[in-house]
């Protein structure tokens, strides 16, 4: 098993290295393609969110329409910690992520008994329940519709978490989490997730306690959402109630499908594309950008169900075939 493990390590070096190189050099090339400082940080945060979402959707085969619940819960707790406890980001992020994990255990336990559309609708319902609680019952703590405002500048041991500092923090976190995701996918646990996707019932007859593994997969994806939610507050110390809303849940679904689910790389690409499109291309296109995005989404789903990744491999095939 040891030799197999080291083979896995080697397999990871190239993609993780390439990923790190692209992200770390972003400040140097991003503005030449129309990007701007700040957008790069946001893209990296969404990439983290998308990686975790792909573990759930792409590998385990469960389409959650309520992942904002974990992003948002973590964002609120991170914000509350910064506001009331300390401006140090470490305890704030820790509490934020833990709150997302607890939420994932509760929601996962209640929703994972169902599959397919029933699971999706249940997660949507729970997500919206939390969203409306934020706006009503809990508004004394959450600031309701206004969001949580007045947060101090986040600090990391005397270092102001602004601009480049936040960018490099998120990049480091993203690299680590991408690496972890790759290891999860190639582990026996990852194999189990794939088997859950193709046939839960059959898997159960091999002696696997499927319900427990499903919950683990769900919680892992919520950890990624929670980390993303917490980093979003470090990036911009303001908690918007939209962080809990279905729009955000839908966005991560669209990103994943656009990029190509079940590839890790695809959803990351989808996340980058969507934010780039929303913030850069939209300026050139004007008000119609959402319409164009919708058209791109439809065309992708109809002609390239495997997303950008499928497009890439098709082009590669053509080129290779042409060179012969």
């Amino acid at each position: 098993m040891n030799s197999a493990n080291s083979a896995f390590y080697k397999k990871d070096i190239l993609p993780v290295g390439a990923f790190a190189a692209v992200l770390l050099t972003m400040p140097f090339w991003f503005e030449y393609v129309g990007g701007y400082s700040g957008l790069d940080t946001k893209i990296v945060i969404w990439i983290i969110f998308a990686i975790g979402f792909d573990i759930l959707l792409g590998y385990m085969g469960f389409l959650s329409f309520g992942h904002a619940a974990f992003f948002g819960t973590s964002a609120y707790f991170t914000g509350l910690m910064l506001l009331h406890y300390s401006d140090n980001i470490l305890p704030a992020i820790a509490v934020g992520v833990i709150s997302a994990i607890i939420m994932a255990f509760i929601i996962g336990f209640l929703t994972l008994k169902r599959t397919g559309i029933y699971f999706s609708i249940l997660t949507l319902a729970f997500g919206e329940m939390l969203h409306s609680m934020v706006l009503s019952t809990l508004q004394d703590w959450t600031g309701g519709d206004n969001g949580l405002t007045g947060l101090p500048t986040p600090m990391l041991f005397g270092l102001k978490m602004q601009g480049d500092n936040v960018f490099y923090l998120t990049v480091i976190v993203a690299i680590v989490m991408y690496y972890i995701a790759r290891r999860i996918i190639s582990s026996p646990f990852g194999l189990m997730l794939k088997a859950i996707k193709s046939n839960q019932v059959r898997l159960e007859y091999t002696g696997v306690h499927v319900a427990r593994y499903k919950l683990m997969g769900f919680v892992i994806s919520a950890v990624y959402a929670g980390v993303a939610g917490a980093l979003m507050i470090v990036y911009e110390p303001y908690v918007a109630s939209e962080f809990m809303g279905w729009h955000l849940s839908g966005q991560v679904v669209i990103m994943s499908v656009l990029g190509g689910v079940g590839t890790l790389f695809g959803p990351m690409l989808g996340a980058a594309f969507m934010l780039y499109f929303e913030n850069v291309v939209s300026v050139t296109i004007g008000e119609q950008w959402l319409l164009v995005l919708g058209a791109i989404f439809m065309l992708t789903v109809i002609f390239l169900p495997g997303g950008f990744v499928e497009a890439g491999s098709k082009i590669k095939k053509k080129l290779m075939g042409g060179s012969k």
Partner: protein, 237 residues
Amino acid sequence: MSDQAYFSVSDLHAYYGESYIVQGISFEIKEGEILALLGRNGAGKTTALSAIARMQDPQVHKGTITLDGQDLTGMKPFEAARAGVQLVPEDRRIIPGITVEENLIISQISEPIGWDLDRIYDHFPKLRERRSQEGVTLSGGEQQMLAVARALARGIKLLLLDEPYEGLAPTIVKEIEGIVREIKEMGITTIIVEQNAVAALKLSDKAIIMESGEIVYAGTAQEVLDNKELREQYLAI
């Protein structure tokens, strides 16, 4: 081998929804024995086997199932699998989307673990050849092999084979027969459900014949082989 029953079913009643299929059967097997469970189509053989493997369907309304001192009756499918029951169903139930080898590895994630991959491949060289091929793309006979291998990859106490020869070419049937013979030599307690009764009987110690959900005959396999009248009456062979 002891004289006590290793596996026993007593007064088992199983339903598919409202349909009353297995109507109170009882039998015992000693450790290392092979039991042939025979009967015509619709006699309730597969239902009985599924009930023993504690599948979600059928529902057991009454009766007890005991294996090596453990009561299986209230167990969930994965708990029964952990207790040592492995069913090789007629449709083989290979997990799609993953390779032959992954199908084997996945059986070894939870305890108890049986044969390691090398031993499996030594016994089933075809599976080694096709280890990185998707499991469901194998031929019927190879899938049957994989299904049996997957059962052996777990630490099993009771092997349940549901019509292992069903729909296979005669040459493949020979191969599967060889595997079953090996299983017998290894001393794994086994129940074989078969319509092709002669092939199953030759390998079995005991035989049970079911008709309309009840046991109509129980004896040794040899007795059934010798008793032409009995075979004609219940098995039409």
